[in-house]
């Protein structure tokens, strides 16, 4: 359990961005696997799941297959440009989450010291 509500939210945010980055990595790894379909996180569902503090176990997966991507003849629809873009984007979002957590700890420390 996190110290402040904001920390709790940021922890969930980092969890979701890390999950998304894992799916992007999986898509990149399967760029040559026949029949593989691009996967992504449904951000809203995933965020609701990590923020839900009822303690119920979630079996609803937050990963979804991405529609509207052109499929190659081997049934694979991974688009390298999309994945590279998503990787940079998710990495920056993760960085932002980490910076906000540091800032929150810094403020906590200030409150303790003053």
């Amino acid at each position: 359990m996190a110290t402040t509500p904001l920390l709790q939210a940021l922890q969930g945010y980092l969890q979701v961005t890390a999950d998304r980055q894992q799916l992007v990595t999986t898509n990149m790894a399967n760029v040559d696997t026949p029949g593989y379909h691009t996967q992504d996180v449904n951000f809203q569902t995933a965020m609701q799941q990590v923020m839900d503090q009822s303690g119920n176990m979630k079996l609803q997966p937050a990963s979804v297959e991405v529609d509207n991507l052109p499929e190659r003849p081997d049934g694979n629809n991974v688009n390298i440009d999309r994945e590279s873009m998503m990787m940079s984007e998710t990495q920056l979002q993760y960085q932002m989450g980490v910076q906000l957590i540091k800032e929150e700890f810094h403020e906590l420390l200030t409150a303790i010291k003053d």
Binding site: A18, T25, M28, Q95
Partner: protein, 149 residues
């Protein structure tokens, strides 16, 4: 699970792509091999990739502590298959491997196809190497939270 799984997924892809490059190099190296231990010319090889239990249920199961060696989504090289294309016959009566009509069976290997395959294996390898650097950077950043104050 979590950010360390990213590295093992990318690593599985690195290893699969490396093996693909190896098979392609073997094809290129043996493009003119007319004599093998099994008899006949060298047979062109192809790799078969498959993804490891990528079903959403399996990934949730693994996340909740279910047993699973490789994380869901890893790539495996499941098989190396022989290309069934017929051998190319060239008229070379002086060759010791020539048949009674003077024709020698050469493997049906097109260097251009192999070079394209090799290039795309290299690119996919680079892509996954980049993904590993990205995962490493994310892990480093999380460790930096500890350096606050």
């Amino acid at each position: 699970m979590g950010i360390f799984d990213m590295m093992s997924i990318s690593a599985s892809a690195l290893s699969a792509e490396r093996q693909r490059a190896e098979v392609t190099s073997a094809n290129l190296a043996n493009a003119e091999t007319t004599h093998t231990d099994q008899g006949g010319p060298y047979v062109r090889k192809e790799v078969v990739f498959s993804t490891n239990n990528a079903s959403p249920f399996q990934s949730v199961f693994n996340r909740l502590g279910g047993a699973g060696s490789a994380p869901a989504g890893s790539v495996r090289l499941t098989d190396v298959i022989d290309d069934q294309s017929p051998a190319v016959r060239r008229y070379e009566p002086g060759n010791p491997d020539a048949d009674k009509d003077g024709y020698v069976a050469y493997p049906a290997i097109n260097p251009i196809t192999e070079m394209v395959d090799l290039m795309s294996a290299t690119r996919a390898y680079q892509l996954n190497a980049t993904a590993i650097s990205s995962a490493k950077q994310m892990i480093t950043e999380s460790i930096d939270i500890l350096k606050t104050t």
